[in-house]
Symmetry: C2
């Protein structure tokens, strides 16, 4: 993890303290907000000192044999209390850190994981598996667990972070679950290989976290979801190790991997996985297509998604998203299109995609940029601006949160036939929530992924909040929009996971027989009910 | 099902009586075998009359409310006793039909399914869901169930065979589980759409069967497995209906669909599904590449699989397969390559693929054939011959089975790094089994699917059997080869399913925690243990 070790991780906000939005960058950001929301109260609030927080002393100690892995350091414990959602950051800023693990335990070997699970099962201590801690759904927060469990342990997996084996012929690598994104790519690069999985959290999330939460990558089509990049997984459950074989494909019963993918730490602890790799792309081509009409833009995007062209990037920004995050004023949005290949130039595919766009009134004022090299081209135009802002977004979110803004996202997926209707309904619900809260705000939408049968719309909420009520205000907006998602039978999460925050709507989404089946699996694999209680499945009664 | 309604289905063998291999076709087939295996005893055996079989009378009656759906006709019952594996056909020919369902029940509505499940649960009657009955793994055979259950019912789903809804925008259709392949394609064709899922059993298998067994389609890459073509499913379980939402993608917990995919009728009865469709391809290009060296051919195939070119067909026939089923003598095999697209010509992709082949010594004596039309070109060369023989293969299998031959397949998948080693080991194990049985035979291999990390090798066994021992002889070969698969950690089935025949090796393949989880799910969804007992999970004790 060369890129982050020299920096200091923030206990309360995103990423590194050193990379926070400050100075002129912050001033420019706030000026943009002032233009958009002239009435917003943008007074800035600083985080409290950790030492000033009211945090109960640890109620438990690790057994002697595990003592060398355990930390009861206050900052360590507090930094493992919340994920990195807006409501986490805001609560941190306000010093509302109510549920702090008693201990943080960092296993170094698989046997350590087995031993911790054994102890936790025997002692009835709740265990919250923790990767990079970038959850935005309360997935790593031991919310309310102190009432039910005599102890709560955060199992931080980041000391198990090695690439153990590379199979060049099959293009696969065996990687430990605690490895961060940059460490994985740094380790693979000398071999000309890449996992090519780039979620927005890439720098601050781990392989194990991606697997446990079914992370979506940066790329728009085909092999981008972590689900499809897994060849086999090894999971330590309280009743033993579950390892699947390295298989490119199998039809032998329901997929074991698919049961652990998305299990969010409730069924076992993922220790390592064989991951499918790709050659590093050599040819790249990109373009930003401007539309005057959003419906026409949606239709063009749909046709490309259904064309079998498989673009690497096919991100439709609606007019609000285009102006906010790509600085491009349009009446119908911008489609950020890109193709990549390690085997051949992709200009042909780009031409076909652009023809589709032209048929729907799309224009390409900045032209097409193609490169043939390992070197990434300097990106220009809306696509380039949007990309740099993509990486800065979480830092900007924190700066805005400090300035009393409500800045958060919803993400979902739905079929093409109802996407415009859904977007309208989400907009209306958010606007109506703003109104009833007496605040002003805007809603933006981009498609993060496109499938032949529908896109994954990702909504951004930017509203001027009231400092002492921002959590409640956000919760009210969240409730209003989530109800719309359920009403339209759009998933409550496309790639952010369920965690604790999405439970009420997830429970409506899943069928009762499947819920029963999941509870039965949980009881079979985690009979003491100690693994991440409250996520996906209700915790055992006090 | 226009193509099959006018014909008579065979009770003992594959497909339609009218399409059996007879006359000069049979004579030519046997002559080819005589060349290959001059010592084989090819005397022909005819099936018994159904009326002459010793079949116990039905032990149960359907309740009055379900009487109109139930059949106790002898031929009907016998035709639902076995699947269509070699060992099923041989046992039928010999009159060894030991486990016959008491009744065949054909629900017409979902309520009928609910009612049958209720009755079966209340009465403790075993229920075997049945689609086209093309299982080659004993998946629909009520083997030994009469000893444990007071009655055994075959639930034949083929009266629920309608396309209920088409969403053109999202390119998806809601289809009932009992629809056969041709009926689905006939219904979609007027809309310019296709499910594009063509397993070898296409004409005689159903959507529900494909879903329950995780069928593999004909195509080599990307969207071909039924798993990836499902948008949502509706499954009736004994504890209620489980329906997933129509979602292009979701990260909300472990996938419900993936639990029912591959559940082989043990957790519920699939009644319908929203399936992802595709535009009908317009541009096609195909070529047959000849190799002198098999290792070089494997390497070329691997590079194409890893190129991101996504060929529709990428089927490497080894020298034995090439001569037997494509009539092409080679020392290194034939790679049957094809590209298809609804959006653009694929000559460019074909050129890149052929360059890869040339780098490994591949030649294309018959040239490349490209077409631009809805009309399928007349296929020539090895590709064309192989394709027609693909469709006739199961009928030929039956003709050879009648002539005392042992003709059966193994299919698996493994990573690229060990595929040649695995093929050698399978060949050696089969040859050694032939020798210890005192028979002669050959083993062929083709790749049915290729993934970036490995192929799905499909082995054909052709050996001269001894008529009164062919089942035992086959079982011995099966045992020897399956042990090799497990030893190499190659899946016991890539797309044929587990059924009853693959259980011993499946049990070694799956981890114990996953087995526990599956048993727990089964107990939760099918508390009476009536659904397809013995498949995937042990039946309840007598």
């Amino acid at each position: 993890m060369t890129s982050t070790t020299a920096k200091t991780r923030s206990w309360w906000g995103w990423g590194n303290v050193d990379d926070a939005v400050t100075g002129s960058e912050k001033e420019e950001l706030l000026n943009r907000v002032r233009l958009l929301l002239p009435d917003a109260d943008l007074s800035t609030h600083e985080p409290p000192e950790v030492a000033d927080l009211t945090v109960p002393a640890p109620r438990i100690q690790a057994p002697t044999s595990l003592g060398h892995l355990a930390s009861d350091d206050l900052t360590d414990r507090v930094a493992h209390a919340h994920g990195k959602a807006y409501r986490d950051v805001i609560r941190n800023l306000k010093g509302q850190v109510d549920d702090v693990p008693d201990l943080v335990v960092r296993p170094r070997t698989e046997q350590d994981v087995v031993d911790v699970l054994q102890w936790s099962t025997d002692a009835g201590v709740a265990l919250v598996p923790f990767g990079g801690g970038s959850s935005v759904t309360g997935g790593v927060e031991p919310r309310g667990l102190a009432d039910t469990y005599p102890g709560v342990v955060c199992l931080d997996m980041t000391d198990m972070d090695q690439i153990l084996e590379i199979d060049h012929t099959s293009r696969a690598a065996r990687i430990q679950a605690g490895a961060y994104g940059p460490a994985i790519e740094d380790g693979l690069k000398p071999h000309g290989l890449t996992l090519r999985h780039f979620p927005q959290s890439f720098e601050f999330s781990t392989l194990g976290g991606w697997l446990a939460t079914r992370a979506g990558g940066h790329f728009a089509t085909v092999y981008t979801h972590i689900d499809d990049l897994v060849e086999s997984m090894r999971v330590i459950t309280p009743v033993g190790a579950a390892e699947s074989w390295r298989l490119p494909g199998s039809g032998a019963g329901p997929s074991q991997d698919r049961m652990f993918l998305g299990s969010e730490g409730t069924l076992g602890v993922i220790t390592e996985a064989w991951m499918r790799l790709q050659d590093r792309p050599r040819w790249r081509t990109g373009a930003s297509v401007i539309f005057n009409d959003y419906s026409a833009a949606v239709q063009a995007t749909r046709e490309i998604a259904q064309s079998g062209l498989y673009p690497a990037n096919c991100r439709l920004l609606d007019p609000v998203e285009a102006i906010l995050n790509a600085g491009t004023p349009t009446s119908g949005g911008v489609l950020v299109l890109g193709f990549e290949s390690a085997s051949r130039p992709m200009d042909n595919a780009m031409s076909v995609a652009l023809e589709i766009c032209q048929d729907h009134g799309g224009t390409v004022p900045d032209g097409v940029r193609s490169t043939d090299s390992e070197q990434q081209t300097t990106r220009t135009g809306a696509a380039g601006t949007w990309r740099s802002s993509f990486i800065r977004m979480p830092y900007q979110r924190d700066a805005l949160a400090q300035s009393s803004m409500i800045v958060e996202t919803f993400e979902t997926s739905c079929t093409w036939d109802k996407v415009e209707q859904l977007r309208d309904a989400v907009n209306a619900a958010a606007m109506s929530a703003f109104e009833s809260l007496g605040i002003t705000g805007v809603v933006s939408c981009r498609f993060t992924h496109v499938y032949p049968d529908g896109p994954a719309p990702y909504f951004g909420i930017y509203a001027g909040g009231t400092w002492d009520k921002t959590v409640e205000q956000w919760d009210q907006i969240k409730k209003a929009v989530s109800a719309v998602l359920v009403e339209h039978r759009a998933t409550i999460t496309h790639h952010h996971s369920v965690g604790r925050d999405h439970r009420p709507w997830y429970d409506q989404q899943r069928s009762e027989p499947f819920a029963r089946s999941l509870r039965a699996s949980k009881d079979a694999l985690d009979p003491a009910g100690v693994l991440n209680p409250g996520v996906l499945i209700d915790p055992r009664p006090p």
